[in-house]
């Protein structure tokens, strides 16, 4: 594989950048693979990469219905953080933060990881207490957390509304300085390119239409491009999880919901961090191009539409304008939607299933992007070793049956209740 470097960039400039190698091949599916990963999104591509890199399993195919990176990894607001309170979530996410820090070097692909810090605003004394508790819990797990008072927040984000007579005055905030953003498409492409170079087949425009299961074990999959035998199959399809589960006669604690995001016209640098509104659900950061990247609540009803409705967008942006009034002056450039695999406790599932050789990775709700490396790493471990890693032991499928829910916020699919 061609290494990306400044020297190669200069060299190729002499030939007008016309003879770069393809970043990944377009192979015909083989008859059989050791592992088939269904879903060529961030998590699926990362899984294939870590299968090859950490477990030396390279006879792997990624089966993607559309094109790689065309789902949620291309539709998110690129926020990376590990500001969770529960051990399962915080240890898992912080493991991921380490992978993020090394990712550009690891993949030889600039994912533009920018640890610019995230601030969750608090609007009451009670919320400050809750954030102090969460911050302490984070620090016990080795994650950086700083509790900011009103004056400290004002110094960092002076453009927020600090006037006295607002409905939700800013009391302070909880900051994770090491959190940040990354270039989402680069993450998908970087993983794809490295996985491909280690022998993984990336098969696009190939829809899974069924599974071959016999005697309680997976034997292969049926696709729009023919049958493919496989010793192990990993399902990693986010919002489409229920569609595949139905083909396996499984009913999961997952509902598919619609989430919108939007960007404004580009403006000069005004916001250095990721900031979230604490009296509702709104978050904002500024992209390198200058666009304000914004998002918030789910549309609130089951949907596969990948496009949203205006009432929710209006509701979300009303919160944004309450937090930072200058946003009302900006023009909207683009809005888009993606479909989320909302789990019933708001936490993901990375586990084996009752079918031998079949593994499940889903339930990311709207926190899937930041989890991409850790999810791929632990899912690869679970598939390769046929047992869960201690990092994803809490993300079991049967926790809903045994009552070991990880209720970070206790909301699940009904996030609008908060």
């Amino acid at each position: 594989m061609q290494k990306y470097s400044i020297f190669n960039l200069v060299k190729k400039a002499f030939s007008n950048h016309e003879n770069w190698d393809l970043a990944w091949k377009d192979p015909t599916p083989k008859e059989e693979y050791d592992v088939v990963i269904i879903g060529g999104g961030g998590h699926g591509l990362a899984t294939a990469y870590y299968l090859a890199k950490e477990h030396n399993i390279t006879n792997v195919a990624i089966i993607e219905k559309g094109w790689i990176g065309g789902g949620n990894v291309g539709r998110n607001t690129t926020i990376i953080r590990s500001n969770y309170m529960h051990d399962e979530n915080s240890l898992f996410s912080e493991f991921g933060m380490d992978l993020w820090r090394k990712m550009s070097q690891d993949l030889n692909y600039n994912v533009m990881f920018s640890p610019r810090g995230i601030i969750n605003l608090a609007h009451s004394d009670a919320q400050m207490n809750a954030y102090a508790r969460r911050g302490n819990s984070m620090r016990l797990n080795g994650i950086d957390a700083v509790l900011l008072n009103r004056e400290q927040v004002k110094e960092i984000i002076p453009m927020a509304d600090f006037s006295e007579n607002v409905r939700f005055p800013i009391f302070g905030g909880l900051m994770q300085p090491s959190a940040g953003t990354a270039r989402h498409d680069a993450v998908a492409w970087g993983y794809a390119r490295q996985a491909d170079s280690m022998g993984v087949d990336i098969i696009q425009n190939c829809e899974v239409i069924g599974f071959d299961v016999s005697a309680g074990k997976i034997k292969g999959i049926r696709t729009s491009r023919g049958n493919i035998k496989a010793k192990k199959v990993g399902i990693c399809v986010a919002g489409s999880t229920n569609i595949l589960a139905e083909k396996l006669n499984m009913t999961l604690p997952i509902e598919t919901h619609l989430l919108q995001a939007c960007v404004s016209e580009p403006v000069k640098p005004v916001l250095d961090n990721v900031v979230t509104f604490g009296a509702g659900h709104f978050y904002v950061s500024q992209s390198d191009k200058g666009e304000m990247v914004m998002g918030g609540d789910l549309d609130g009803y089951n949907s596969y539409a990948q496009r949203g409705n205006l009432p929710t967008l209006q509701h979300v942006l009303t919160e944004g304008i309450a937090m930072m009034p200058f946003l009302s002056k900006l023009k909207m450039l683009r809005t888009w939607g993606g479909i989320m695999d909302m789990s019933m406790d708001g936490s993901p599932i990375i586990d084996k299933t009752h079918i031998g050789g079949l593994y499940l990775n889903c339930g990311w709700c709207y926190g899937g992007f930041k989890a991409t490396p850790a999810s791929g790493w632990t899912f690869a471990h679970t598939i390769a070793q046929d047992r869960v890693h201690e990092l994803n032991a809490g993300y079991s499928l049967n926790r809903f049956n045994t009552g070991h829910l990880i209720d970070e916020k206790g909301l699940g699919t009904k996030t609008w209740i908060s």
Partner: protein, 89 residues
């Protein structure tokens, strides 16, 4: 914007309604032994497929009645609406 035909009030905008989830879920009969699996299916497990979906909505800023709505989760098209106690054929 969705427009939902409330069987009590007529056509109203989505802003007046709040969503209540899958209407086909049945609470287990309580006069018999209920297994963990049955509770699981009632509380957590959902089909949530693409296509026609029978769901509950509440006309929260209107008559406050719960209603059933048959809607396509792929296109958001609404086919029929029913009163909460109406049997859906």
């Amino acid at each position: 914007m969705l427009y939902i035909n409330c069987p009590h009030c007529g056509m109203r905008s989505q802003n007046e309604f709040s969503y209540g989830g899958d209407a086909s879920v049945k609470r287990p009969e309580l006069n018999k032994e209920v297994s963990d699996q049955e509770w699981d299916n009632f509380v957590y497990n959902r089909k949530s497929l693409r296509g026609k979906h029978l769901e509950l909505w509440q006309h929260i800023s209107g008559c406050r009645q719960w209603i059933k709505v048959e809607r396509d989760t792929g296109t958001h098209e609404i086919f029929r609406t029913f009163k909460a106690d109406e049997e859906v054929a």
